[in-house]
Symmetry: C2
Subunit: 407 residues, 2 copies
């Protein structure tokens, strides 16, 4: 996991004492100058206090966010009015420590639900983190936002052409409760490119829809999910003002690539995950149908335990496709499996042809399912709809982590 | 598990050799006279061959079904045209062995997907089973349809009043892949009451909707799910001809009670289940919203692992309600837990009041979650919508069974 740098941004992580045991639990990301910003939030009705705070903030200050403060160890969710005040206090503490005017700090929290957020550790930790801010501080910031994550998640991409020297990068945390609808994951993305709030928002929505919203660990969605992007414009380019700007597509592509890298890291680090599984659906009646079918497979506990057990159980895959709600004609459905190490794939093995099993070699299928990465390719044979989602297996470790976890 | 008897019906189970190891795998249920019948089938697009056969059969012969033949060990699903012929052959073999005219036998299969159904064991086993048919043969029939089930599932209820001496009873198999939408479960219900196909169908749909469709083990739905009810009229009552007959409601209620008993047995026998969990939602904006919220909790892997771990993690319950799609105002949500042994409950403990945790005693909550049966009661505080669903926990055994299972 290599570190990242994004011109004009500094970051830091410290152990503020919110988590027990002296683990890092507070991160800051600060820009040298105010940023344009865009954010995507959880759709959970029990949105956490920081989400409520940030939603209001973004309606007023999407053109001047300058800092992000993130704590792990406490989600500040289901905490009522006191929780809302705590989120506002956390922002104010950060703005004061950084000598920013009010309404410049974005707030994120992750951790236990329903426990009041203790402000004393935040009052102590934020100035400590502020004193440590460095351009190379992203890795320690990424470590400070981890909960059940086992490694920090960082990615970046460089732009070329008209935006040469432009950089897009960021960090994320994930692990449990990850689901296509943005479950318990936090991500802070940043760029030195100058771009107005509106096209930045469009780029972020596209990137999230093609990355974080297509991953699944266990199908649960959380109260705190947030993806934020900050653009500080220190590249000095003439700002991208709308989505028709020819520089917009490559910028959006870079943001998507970074988001997808982070999303894949979240899947690889899924609680108890031993396999990285790509479910690709083609030939669907529509893209929406393709997504329905792919998500049904990616979220099926029976498919996920089969991936864990190394059992090339194509029947469970077909059954999931069959109840997904996607339009399916069984006689047109083809299915292939392929396996390999990260980034490498062996030849695809067709196991279903026209809805019934081929005369495939079981040993070959078992060999594919023994690989750390498995591709499941489903052709519904009906139309042009296609998609790709990423998931992991479900094994004993998932049960152990989640049966034991709480305070 | 006590045996059942239903006047005018005989049943039997034998080891036909479809399963390896000489386990019982073929069951017959036969009425002395033709029956009116109703059935509910899987909605999976990959409906198995017997489901396709039975759907066509029911369009023509819902007033004269006389036998059901069921095999375990092979689902006859994803088997193409040969599978359809095998299902028809299985019906014909049964009709011949019982000297019935064509179109009287209903067919069910459960087991491995995608393997051709071997007809030789069925040709041998059906006459053997026919020779063993007895009024007290339900228990051995129920044993012969088990797959990963650990006990046979039987229930019956007696009618009173105008239908005195009427009996409703039946058997089911369930275990893995159980989900509100009728997943991989088979049930054969039978009654000696005389009732026309139309009100019988209405009674069955109501009963299934209030029993089998409200249980969840892992959220997967299968290719073979079928619930059949046969009414042979040997009670000699003037037939119930429509749903406005005053005898209809008590009949429907008895059918529902039997279905619910069987459904609860399926949950108790869920793969690896150690807890029986009732999720009750009241105060929802509509019954549909109540069902959305209850199912989200019942299907959440995070809630289910918390039940397994004995962790009274109300935050996960609220998070599931929050992403269920039900209309939710967090400040109006109340949550209680209660626990006990089968049929007994201790006092309910309120853990959430108006969306935030109460000052409840954690030890008391842990004590509740240590019980074999747990009630989760959610009041959304919005309206009159309510529902109840039943589920089990998700533990190591679920992973073991499903990571290892196939042929």
């Amino acid at each position: 996991m290599s570190n990242i740098r994004i011109p004009g941004f500094r970051a830091a992580g410290v152990a503020a004492g919110i988590k027990a045991g002296g683990h890092p639990d507070l991160a800051l990301v600060v820009s040298d100058v105010p940023c344009t910003a865009a954010a995507v939030f959880t759709q959970n009705a029990f949105a956490a206090a920081p989400v409520l705070y940030d939603r209001a903030l973004m309606r007023q200050a999407a053109d001047r966010i300058q800092a992000v403060v993130i704590n792990a160890g406490n989600a500040n969710a289901c905490t009522g009015e006191p929780g809302l005040r705590a989120a506002a206090d956390m922002a104010a503490i950060t703005e004061e420590a950084l000598s920013l005017t009010s309404g410049r700090a974005f707030v994120m929290s992750t951790g236990v639900i329903g426990v009041p957020l203790p402000l004393d550790p935040i009052r102590q930790g934020v100035p400590q983190a502020a004193a440590r801010l460095r351009e190379e501080g992203w890795e320690e910031a990424a470590r400070a936002i981890m909960t059940t994550d086992t490694f920090p998640k960082l990615a970046s991409a460089s732009l070329t052409g008209a935006l040469a020297s432009g950089v897009v990068g960021g960090m994320a945390k994930g692990a449990g409760m990850i689901h296509p609808n943005m479950a318990t994951m936090l991500a802070v993305l940043a760029t030195n490119v100058a771009i107005a709030p509106e096209p930045l928002d469009a780029a972020l929505r596209y990137a999230v829809d093609h990355s974080f919203n297509r991953i699944s660990v266990d199908g649960d969605t959380s109260t705190n999910d947030t993806v934020l992007v900050l653009a500080n414009g220190t590249l000095g380019n003439d700002p991208i003002r709308d989505v028709n700007d020819p520089r917009f597509p490559p910028f959006r592509e870079a943001l998507t690539r970074v988001s997808r890298e982070l999303a894949h890291m979240i899947v690889r680090d899924g609680e108890g995950a031993t396999k990285f599984v790509t479910v690709r659906v083609v030939g669907a009646a529509s893209d929406m149908d393709a997504l329905r079918a792919a998500k049904a497979v990616a979220n099926s506990p029976l498919c996920k335990t089969a991936f864990f057990g190394g059992d090339p159980n194509w029947g469970r895959v077909l059954a999931a496709v069959g109840y997904s709600g996607a339009h399916v004609d069984p006689r047109r459905v083809n299915l292939w499996f392929a396996g390999g190490k990260e980034g490498q794939r062996g030849p695809a093995l067709q196991v279903v042809d026209g809805g019934t099993p081929t005369d495939y070699d079981e040993a070959e299928a078992v060999h594919i399912f023994a690989q750390p990465e498995i591709d499941v390719l489903i052709d519904l044979g009906l139309g042009e709809g296609s998609t790709e989602v990423w998931t992991c297996d479900l094994g004993y470790e998932y049960v152990r982590i989640n049966a034991e976890y709480r305070t």
